[in-house]
Assembly symmetry: C2
Homo-oligomer: 339 residues x 2
């Protein structure tokens, strides 16, 4: 039976609690801040806690942030909220953050290109630090030079603007894909790459070029959505000349688009055409056949990112990390069709 204050009434402050408990405001702050060992008697502490409960006191975050000069809030800059991969990254980051009394605010880069006017106005929160995906490069620019500690996800380790780097071994992921496909006898490849420029995609392309030297490899780019991917794949697959027998995609979404294009062209997957994705999102097992793809440890990626940021904030060095990835073979890849 909580006694509710009148709804319009102002929220109680630590001074109100102090008055109710018959102590000074400073004592309330000490007790509630758990810094009172040996400074306040158990009896007094208890009465403060009781009064705080009674009044349903919650400290004013704005005042605390002002006083302490930090906010315990991190910003996660992601390319788009609709990208399921980053939902998992967020989950991981938020979990670690919560354990340290931190909160995580999301800043989704607007879908349209071009940098935003003022990210801070949008984020609206004072921040202690920023974690950003290299895929959100445009939105990111605005955060540079603000002096805020910056942890970069999947970006060039040589970038000096970042205080720490957490990467995924996407090059190895692509190598595993090629090994898998070469083992199935494929020799003519199409790489459906992301049209968004980003270090992580450059790395994939380079790894691919390296692993597939001596075979036929074409590259086509498309934005990260099914419709555009389908169009791009349709064009490439319907082109004159020998058709690739395997399409390697930078993302599951692109791979789904390829599947749709194949379907429209009357090509069976995987009998006529093998397709691979990247990320292993829910989408990968939603389609038929299920996608052979590269599984990325998305949640751990987010966790490591947040841990790196916390380390930086604590003044420590955060060594660069590269997380391993896995190939998940499924139904969308099969033996290369006999010529």
């Amino acid at each position: 039976m909580q006694s509710h204050e009148p709804l319009g009434g102002a929220r109680p402050t630590s001074r109100d609690v102090a008055r109710a408990a018959g102590v000074s405001q400073a004592t309330v702050s000490l007790v509630l801040g758990e810094k009172w060992r040996g400074r306040v008697s158990e009896r007094t502490a208890e009465s403060v806690r009781h009064a705080a409960d009674e009044l349903d006191y919650r400290p004013n975050l704005a005042a605390r942030n002002l006083r302490l000069g930090r906010t315990r809030t991190a910003l996660l800059v992601v390319p788009a909220l609709t990208n399921e991969f980053f939902a998992h990254v967020y989950t991981g980051a938020a979990a670690v953050a919560a354990r340290h009394g931190f909160g995580v605010v999301l800043y989704p880069s607007p879908d349209g290109v071009g940098p935003t006017r003022d990210p801070f106005a949008s984020a609206q929160a004072a921040l202690d630090g920023v974690i950003a995906s290299s895929m959100a490069a445009d939105a990111l620019k605005a955060f540079r030079g603000t002096g805020l500690p910056l942890v970069m996800l999947d970006s060039d380790p040589a970038d000096p603007g970042a205080a720490a780097h957490v990467n995924l071994d996407v090059a190895d992921g692509m190598r595993r894909v090629t090994r898998h496909l070469l083992g199935l006898g494929h020799r003519r490849f199409l790489h459906l790459a992301s049209a968004v420029p980003s270090w992580t995609f450059d790395v994939r392309a380079a790894a691919l070029a390296d692993a597939l030297r001596g075979t036929e490899l074409r590259t086509v780019r498309a934005p990260l959505n099914v419709a555009d991917a389908r169009e791009a794949a349709h064009l490439a697959l319907a082109a004159p000349g020998p058709r690739p027998t395997a399409v390697i995609c930078d993302d599951d979404i692109l791979a789904v688009g390829v599947g749709k294009a194949a379907h429209r062209l009357g090509l069976r997957v995987p009998e006529d055409l093998s397709v691979t994705g990247f990320d292993d999102m829910a989408l990968a097992t939603a389609v038929e056949p299920e996608l052979t793809t590269v599984r990325l440890p998305a949640e751990e990626f987010g966790r490591r990112g947040m841990e790196a940021l916390l380390a930086v904030l604590a003044g420590e060095q955060a060594p660069p990390v590269t997380l391993p990835v896995d190939l998940v073979p499924r139904g969308s890849t099969g033996p290369a069709p006999a010529v």
Copy 2:
């Protein structure tokens, strides 16, 4: 050529700007706050703006929030970040918010059930108001009784705890689905419902029961993910007795699960089985055949929610809104198979 302060150096305050411009701090606040018409000369104002630029001054949000007693931040409580529908809702809400100098923070209800310990600690931002989906009922509980203005999305309009309601006409959506399927000759239905209890799903079920009275209608529930939906659908479709000819789903994700179950059972969609989704997310056109589904105006939903919250914060009444929905017929529905 921006002259960067030493990186470790403290951020400049309005007092620093004042010193640089040779005026008092109050004047800086007036000028930068655009409240200086007739109070400060154009010359002085210009010199203040110049000094602020020079120092790369950004107001301290914590101090401002403390002073003003409000944060211009709204919280959007959603069931899960992986649900694409809410990504669009967020986009809409954030767009309106930005136009009014507001920011939007996301609070994704943890995937596991059970209320969270302290949402405020996680949100970490002082808030002016909350917009919440009825699908996140558990996380929502913690926000009740805080006196914070609450706008509910797709929830019982009779709920007195909310200051405003914005709904989607999901009942009409379901009626359109039934009309479509009845017109195709279907008479035996399976309703694959969401296992998450929520007003919006109750409404759908009721509308369905009402529109399909006189036909055969079974109901099965599944959590909102492909794997569980597939299992539930598999069981229901493989059960003895006459098989339903159409499966009506509460969500596109569920519909995709049904498609996979059908594939496994050797049933062709739509020749042997018609399937409908709900939401019209990207997923709906990612699968083959594409899903007949109900298109929800997700972005407008978010916009209206934010507008309602702004109205409430301005002390106005926000009349309840119900947004219309549309049926999008695609390849997953067809004429009922001849018995």
